[in-house]
């Protein structure tokens, strides 16, 4: 496919195509979201690392979002070219499982280091972080330490969040508040309403509004400060820790039943969750690894605060209630 895309372009430009790949090597096609496959994302490093041992070619196909990869596979059904999807998260893995498109991974994942022991038979976790509001110590001296404290602040203290219908962190916030407050969730949303500067479609828009100084806090991840420390030498961005606990977003990968390369796909997932694969993740995807990397992880990650309590929702709870929770949120902030 790489070849044909380039060929199509090359025909248009009138140039010659990139050198053809050897045809006898199997190609492992992996759907993911665009930031993951980007030049600076984990994609290139994982591809190089796995290709060094597998005798295969890894090809990333990037959709515009993680849910976009799932929808694409749902549309393609059995005829999908994807062998693996990388980048779904635990908020939609229940829905993904219900499609019946995913095979068991058959890996022993008991050695992983996650907020909760991992038991999923279909999906392999490869990174995680807690949803959290980030703030800048230059402008916010004392951040709120709970949703209720945030609500009690003056109305000109503004936050930016994402639409739960289009952005995974937006959905994460809805689930977080539901997990922390249960039936009181609509009340919390109503309290947040005057503080919400805007609700954006994607995480990137919110985060940039925050960086531009338009809002005091943005819904993001507990690991976001690591990017600023490592890539920019800036340690003024922090994640506010809330007393009621935080929900974690765990990103997962799964093998499609329709794949012709089941064994190869399993090897890739094993590699993804191994120390070698995990070394790539933290400073490219800016999330915590799922194994203990010891000295192989940038020390900045060790300085990040960890929530005292990790909130958990089961697949079943999410599947049964997320629609209602989203509606409650929309009704409250309307």
């Amino acid at each position: 496919m790489v070849k044909s895309t380039r060929l199509a372009l090359a025909v248009l430009v009138g140039l010659f195509a990139a050198p053809a790949f050897a045809e006898d090597v199997p190609t492992l096609t992996i759907y993911t979201y665009d930031g993951f496959a980007a030049e600076w994302g984990p994609g290139p490093g994982l591809k190089a690392g796995f290709e060094a041992t597998c005798g295969c070619v890894v090809e990333w196909v990037a959709a515009d979002s993680s849910i976009g990869t799932l929808r694409r596979v749902q549309l393609e059904g059995d005829t999908t070219e994807a062998d693996i999807i990388v980048g779904l998260d635990t908020a939609i893995s229940g829905e993904a499982r219900a499609t019946g498109l995913f095979a068991d991974h058959g890996l022993d994942l008991s050695g992983l280091k996650l907020p909760e022991p991992w038991t999923d038979a279909q999906f392999v976790p490869f990174d995680y972080a807690h949803f959290a509001f980030v703030y800048d110590t230059d402008t916010v001296a004392t951040p709120p330490t709970s949703f209720e404290e945030l609500i009690a602040l003056p109305d000109n203290f503004k936050i930016v969040v994402q639409d739960p219908r289009s952005a995974t962190p937006g959905l994460g916030l809805v689930l977080w508040i539901a997990a922390a407050y249960g039936d009181r969730a609509p009340e919390i949303w109503a309290g947040l309403k005057p503080h919400i500067l805007t609700v954006t479609r994607e995480w990137s828009e919110s985060y940039n509004l925050f960086l531009e100084g338009e809002a005091d806090m943005a819904l993001s991840y507990s690991t976001s400060p690591a990017y600023h420390i490592i890539a920019e030498g800036d340690d003024t961005i922090h994640a506010a820790m809330f007393e009621e606990g935080h929900l974690a977003q765990t990103e997962v990968a799964g093998i499609l039943k329709s794949s012709e390369h089941q064994e190869l796909a399993r090897q890739f997932l094993a590699y993804l969750a191994s120390v070698d694969g995990q070394k790539v993740i933290p400073s490219t995807n800016w999330m915590f690894p799922v194994v203990d990397l010891g000295a192989d992880i940038d020390p900045a990650f060790a300085t990040l605060p960890q929530p005292e309590k990790t909130l958990v929702l089961s697949d079943e709870e999410i599947a049964a209630n997320s629609q209602r929770w989203i509606d409650e949120m929309l009704a409250a902030v309307q």
Binding site: W40, W60, L197, V199, Y207, N208, V333
Partner: protein, 530 residues
């Protein structure tokens, strides 16, 4: 309409093309419906009436404001001569084709809580103007910047094309500035208003990321958001098609109204640099309009340039992927601009050749069709169609993107080429008939030489439109096939704000170069042909 030359071939070509576009849209919707296997889907949770009401109010206000501001700006730019005028005109024009998010962030860096104006106001007077850039006012502001500047560009082309003899006559009659506008300018502008108003209304009606980001929350939403949610979150394809059909129906009414309006002869031809200045109050007003519009429109874009051409640019241009993306963008932009030119000429020539009102209306509609269909539905439908035809999406990607971008640019191209072409057919029809020119010779000898600058403007528009497109590429992009806007958004989604700013600035520079250069180039080529 006896004066119209007999051109059955032109009319047939236009009818074929119009039918083709209608069939394509129908196929797209059908492909999605066919994929929506079984199940009634969840009952629609969306209050459609409320959404329609809110969206119509917002789009209506946007249209009125954009046309008014655009006309005032075109009037001021037509009269005033100053160094760097071409550059300013290019900057104004580039707003419409710059990805909406870039413009929105540019606006915020001027007008936002932490923007230039607030910072200056705090430093000078010790208070801030607050946060005017969010809510309905924020949406309207962003839309007027995007659309008003575009309207100004099209109207300016019409004003600049007013023949010098007419101006000389007016000057010798001693027309007041108001009489000059009413007698000379307005007849030249009138023809562009319906098409422009329709385009702007449709753009605002279907606007999505800007409305969501600057609107504040779900209270200010468009139908497009609901459709996106139906496809993405609920995966309710049948519901999405139902909503899309609603949107198409509403938009069709607007399109119908715009297409049905009788043709109005306008002036056409090469631009002249008249030395007839307005005096006194009118001149002051022109300077005021230009200054205000520069602060409102040009400063945000300037801030995009300043932000982007600093920090990240070295890192960006050092990436091979950047050059691949640039090459893809240029190839796609060029191909779709040429395709747009063909499509627009076919439709506009056919439309100009017929005196039948109903046929004219029908031939005017397909140009807008693509604006009325939700982007997420289009890309999904195309994706399914391509698969059903047995191609891998990655193989078809460049072709689909080119075709889709051309169709997206078509209304803008028609707004540029339509009025002057019809004016030519009507005012020179008798001459063409009496000379017995063939259709081809009519085009090469009469129409093309008079259209040179307009063709340049149109190609610049279509090229830049495609250069800035995000909607179509999103579903078809892969790791190896990306355009500059896609690369920009990938950077934004991975904390790389500096990289994104640099790419945005590069896109903007490319756009301005195209807008300044292409109209001149084509005017020169057409002059040579005359």
């Amino acid at each position: 309409m006896l004066t119209l030359p007999h051109r059955p071939l032109r009319i047939a070509a236009a009818i074929t093309l119009a039918t083709g576009i209608a069939v394509l849209i129908a196929l797209v919707l059908w492909a999605i419906l066919a994929a929506a296997t079984g199940g009634e889907g969840s009952a629609s949770r969306i209050d459609i009436a409320h959404l329609l009401r809110m969206t119509s109010i917002q789009a209506g206000l946007t249209t009125v404001l954009s046309i008014t501001v655009g006309m005032a700006l075109a009037w001021a730019l037509n009269r005033l001569r100053f160094p760097g005028r071409d550059l300013v005109v290019g900057l104004f024009a580039s707003a419409i084709v710059t990805p909406g998010m870039v413009v929105a962030f540019g606006l915020l860096s001027i007008w936002g809580r932490n923007g230039w104006i607030n910072q200056a106001s705090e430093a000078l007077f010790g208070f801030s103007i607050g946060n005017p850039a969010f809510g309905l006012s924020g949406i309207l502001f962003a839309h007027v910047v995007l659309d008003g500047a575009f309207a100004a560009r099209i109207m300016l082309a019409r004003l600049d094309a007013i023949p010098t003899p007419r101006l000389k006559t007016g000057q010798s009659l001693g027309l007041t500035p108001w009489q000059r506008f009413a007698i000379i300018d307005w007849p030249a502008l009138r023809g562009t208003v319906p098409g422009l108003a329709a385009i702007i209304f449709l753009l605002a009606f279907t606007s999505f990321p800007i409305v969501l980001m600057l609107g504040g929350g779900p209270a200010n939403q468009t139908l497009e958001v609901a459709i996106y949610a139906a496809v993405r979150q609920d995966f309710d394809l049948a519901g999405a098609v139902r909503l899309a059909a609603t949107q198409i129906a509403v938009c069709s009414l607007v399109i119908l109204a715009a297409s049905a309006l009788a043709p109005i002869p306008t002036s056409f031809g090469a631009s002249a640099a008249p030395r007839w200045r307005d005096r006194g109050f009118a001149r002051l007003l022109q300077m005021l309009v230009l200054t205000l519009c520069t602060i409102g429109f040009v400063l945000p874009l300037l801030s995009v340039l300043i932000d982007g051409l600093g920090a990240g640019i070295g890192r960006v241009v050092a990436q091979p992927a950047f050059w691949w993306a640039t090459a893809s963008s240029l190839v796609i932009g060029t191909a779709s601009a040429l395709l747009t030119l063909l499509l627009a000429l076919a439709l506009a020539l056919g439309r100009g050749a017929t005196g039948n009102g109903l046929l004219r209306t029908l031939l005017g509609m397909p140009a807008f069709a693509y604006l009325a269909v939700p982007a997420v539905v289009l890309s999904l439908g195309f994706f399914l169609l391509v698969r059903q035809l047995g191609f891998a999406p990655s193989v078809a990607a460049p072709y689909v993107v080119i075709l889709a971008n051309s169709l997206l640019a078509l209304p803008f191209a028609m707004a540029t080429l339509g009025p002057p072409l019809e004016a030519i057919a009507r005012s020179r029809g008798k001459l063409i008939r009496s000379l017995g020119l063939s259709g081809w010779r009519q085009f090469t000898l009469v129409e093309y030489p008079l259209l040179g600058r307009d063709i340049g403007v149109m190609l610049a528009l279509a090229f830049c439109f495609s250069l800035g497109d995000l909607g179509v590429i999103a579903l078809f992009g892969t790791q190896d096939f990306q355009t500059l806007p896609l690369m920009m958004f990938r950077a934004l989604g991975s904390y790389r704000g500096n990289d994104a700013a640099a790419i945005a600035a590069i896109l903007l520079v490319g756009t301005i170069v195209a807008f300044v250069g292409l109209p001149r180039l084509f005017e020169r080529i057409a002059d040579a042909a005359r």
